[in-house]
Subunit: 495 residues, 2 copies
């Protein structure tokens, strides 16, 4: 069939078997500022009962955004929000009140400290769902976790929503977590305390995804956004563990030109980076790339020319925030870093990573979520992702802390399965996952290893063994493997 | 229900009404080079008869990739390919043979010159579908145009597929067109002649989207990749038109601090940029942003401090290729620039754009696709997008060329509808779209305007009027408005 379209032309309505609509007129697109208040933004995005709201955690313990957003939602009479934050710190203690008031009734995202403690004792009607960084990205991408409104904190944004966390008074480092929220949420609100001239010159999130720019007084407290100067442990026992981590890398033949490495932000992991930097210097080796979280220690290795690229997804201290303002390096968003559904991830090239644990067990399973008293106090972070991505995943921990055995028969919660954990380095020796025969072969004659059971026995002898917990049937939370399957359940402990 | 998962934990199989799979084991992700030959890449991506293959045109008239890919497909016995290139130049003349051999039977994408001429005389069984830059992005994003295999030319790529067009011997500027192909095609092949150390430091396309990296001898001929030094017209008549363009901007009050401007790459448009730079200097004005294609003229204005940002989506000359290697500025991919389905586009803030035309008509419709003899010789480019995005869209052209009237009763093909065209500036005067009463008001007493009919009459008087074309019923192609509707049809001219 043919019709006359609005430009006066006779056009087909079907081509190659497909219906095609006639041109119905063109109009000018207009440029409008998207800047409004947070409450107006909530209304404009049609917030309603039961919505899922997402947040990133890059403002860490200085974050104002979660609290102020939930307060604004409450003032609008909203109930039964599902939170989908990437993580939440003690500054979010008011979330407990929002739960009590019925504003929040579900959480899919990491919780740390005070709120975790509360929920451990007062489970929500739906268990908290804990995913790794990469697992969360995949869940949002595949719509397993659908976000109604994404809130993206930015230390600078233009009035169209092009924004960044790299500069501005409240700078916190790259907005690495929220790109997937921006792409898949129904509505996107950039929350900022710093409207800059258009176009914002760093564009981690672009206007194409942004509905509103909510201008607020302060997105966070700069003092608490970054951890301050990250301190290396001074405990000789822990320093020894850190040193042994580097010895293991070396014995495994990984300390060589072009190596790719990462560490977590714990005291032992940081010390390991210091020793790694020294080892690179001693052996006159230039590593290729440091991935993951950026710290002053990594910046120092980079400045010394001992690693060519900083390929980071978050920034852990204020030194590093300032550092990347001068030399951006290669920021990698979490999808690039760890999306398990992608065709290639930054961390798949990782030679070695040093990570921590609250507990490990004789099957090399690692717990980073719960304490041995059963309380859910931490998120998974990138633990699973880097463990599976690295050739050599090293867990560093003491065999016991105070009266609690850290190496045990069974971890309280499995955060990362033993299948992808290669070595556990403790103050009482190094245990290698017996499945890694190749690794055992490589280090033979270079380093002493001990059976993991020996480490457990040492821990049990020193402490009298683990506290036996009695659980109720109430679910506090679940841990998921990054492919979306259920790895473990966290149950409420009997009081 | 509860089951024991592969980590030995008893877990729920349903939570909050949703089925949840038990953990079934974890394995290490591995890092593998993706570098193979082009033919191997085609096989690995499962190329088959009828597939849609996409390409970008940033290698312009130096492009080797389209020809070598189609040759490789032909050698594998593949038939009935649909091409979805962003544009195609004379270097792609061999495509005519691929059409004759049945390797290619459909084209959705811009064609220029020789191939366009051939198809105008020998229409394919399916009409060529012409979309603007933004319209193509939207069509791929919404799956109106589904790509089976995207081929992304890169002047540097690491072996994982992180790649760029910014540096390397065959550098051509940013890969701005292919991000949407990378995200939505079933398979993605980076084609490069320059494998660099991992990680590639400019990452316009990231490994997460890339299946294979096809290593070839030469992605293109550097001499023909960029146009060489872009020349400003020396024709005094055209220089006058260019000067009048700037006078109109000025009279409309748009030449002021913070202005955002763009021009096409034609001779008059380029001259307008030269005069605009001079006017900024004279009036001591600092513009905010130059968008669109980058040329030496824009770089000069930027270096002189008369425009703060270069927010470009392609690079038109080799001077600019080298310029951005030193100062990257703000590259904006085509989605950011012009995706009509997005929540905000670079060009929506555009104050003014100077564009060319093969024909214009008394309804301010513009033709950039066909010549007055009916042959399809050009793509739409960003013409529609910038016309609709800008506050003042200026079309610059002479009233006639040789014996052909350019201003006419009806354009041969509507590429951009008159609804979004504000002014037509010719050697015989300035016509303003009568719908733009506000603009007429603003320039009253500052500039003389003439009715568009007068310009048409002048053209007809000088040339004897347009050649009347007789068309067959065979469809050569269609033009689409960027919302996916059909704007016009291009029919075969009777021989």
């Amino acid at each position: 069939m043919k019709v006359k379209n609005s430009a006066g032309r006779i056009v087909e309505t079907e081509i190659a078997g497909k219906t095609i609509k006639p041109f119905a007129g063109a109009k000018k697109h207009t440029y409008n500022s998207k800047v409004i208040s947070l409450t107006e933004a909530l209304k404009k995005c049609g917030i309603k009962d039961g919505d899922t709201l997402s947040f990133h955690h890059q403002l860490r313990n200085g974050d104002n955004i979660i609290n102020m957003t939930l307060a604004a939602a409450r003032d609008l009479g909203i109930k039964n929000i599902r939170m989908a934050q990437t993580a939440m710190f003690n500054v979010c203690e008011p979330v407990i009140d929002f739960i009590k008031e019925g504003v929040v009734n579900r959480i899919e995202g990491s919780i740390n400290g005070i709120v975790g403690d509360y929920i451990s004792k007062n489970p929500l009607s739906f268990p908290v769902v804990l995913r790794s960084h990469g697992g969360r990205w995949a869940a949002i991408k595949t719509n397993e976790l659908h976000v109604d409104i994404a809130f993206i904190g930015a230390s600078a944004s233009d009035e169209c929503g092009n924004c960044t966390g790299i500069f501005g008074e409240s700078a916190f480092g790259p907005i690495s977590y929220s790109q997937v929220d921006a792409m898949h949420a129904d509505h996107v609100i950039v929350v900022t305390d710093n409207i800059v001239e258009y176009p914002c010159i760093q564009q981690e999130i672009q206007e194409r995804h942004v509905d509103c720019v909510a201008e607020v007084d302060k997105i966070g407290d700069p003092k608490n956004i970054t951890f301050g100067t990250t301190k290396i442990t001074e405990d000789p026992m822990k320093l020894q563990i850190a040193h042994d981590c580097v010895d293991l890398m070396d014995a495994a033949g990984l300390i060589k030109d072009g190596m790719i490495f990462q560490s977590g932000a714990g005291g032992i992991s940081l010390a390991a980076m210091k020793y790694l930097g020294e080892r690179l210097e001693e052996k006159d080796i230039v590593a290729s790339t440091a991935t993951g979280g950026l710290t002053k220690l990594i910046c120092d290795i980079y400045k010394a020319g001992r690693v060519k690229n900083i390929y980071y997804s978050q920034v852990f201290d204020d030194y590093s925030v300032k550092f990347i303002q001068e030399d951006l390096g290669l920021p990698a968003d979490i999808g690039h870093y760890a999306d398990p559904t992608s065709k290639g991830r930054t961390i798949d090239g990782l030679d070695t990573v040093v990570l921590g644990a609250t507990e490990v067990d004789v099957n090399f399973n690692v717990n980073v979520n719960t304490h041995s008293d059963g309380r859910l106090l931490h998120g998974i972070g990138g633990h699973q992702d880097t463990a599976a991505g690295s050739s050599l995943c090293i867990i560093s921990c003491p065999v016991f802390r105070k009266t609690t055995p850290i190496v045990r028969e069974k971890v309280t919660t499995i955060s990362t399965p033993g299948d992808v954990v290669d070595a556990i380095i403790t103050n009482e020796g190094i245990a290698i996952n017996p499945k890694r025969k190749d690794l055992l072969e490589k280090i033979k004659g270079k380093l002493d290893v001990v059976p993991i059971e020996d480490l457990k026995n040492t821990a049990y002898d020193a402490t009298g063994g683990p506290q036996e917990l009695e659980f109720t049937d109430e679910l506090v939370g679940i841990t998921k493997w990054f492919d979306g399957t259920i790895l473990d359940v966290i149950k409420k402990v009997k009081e």
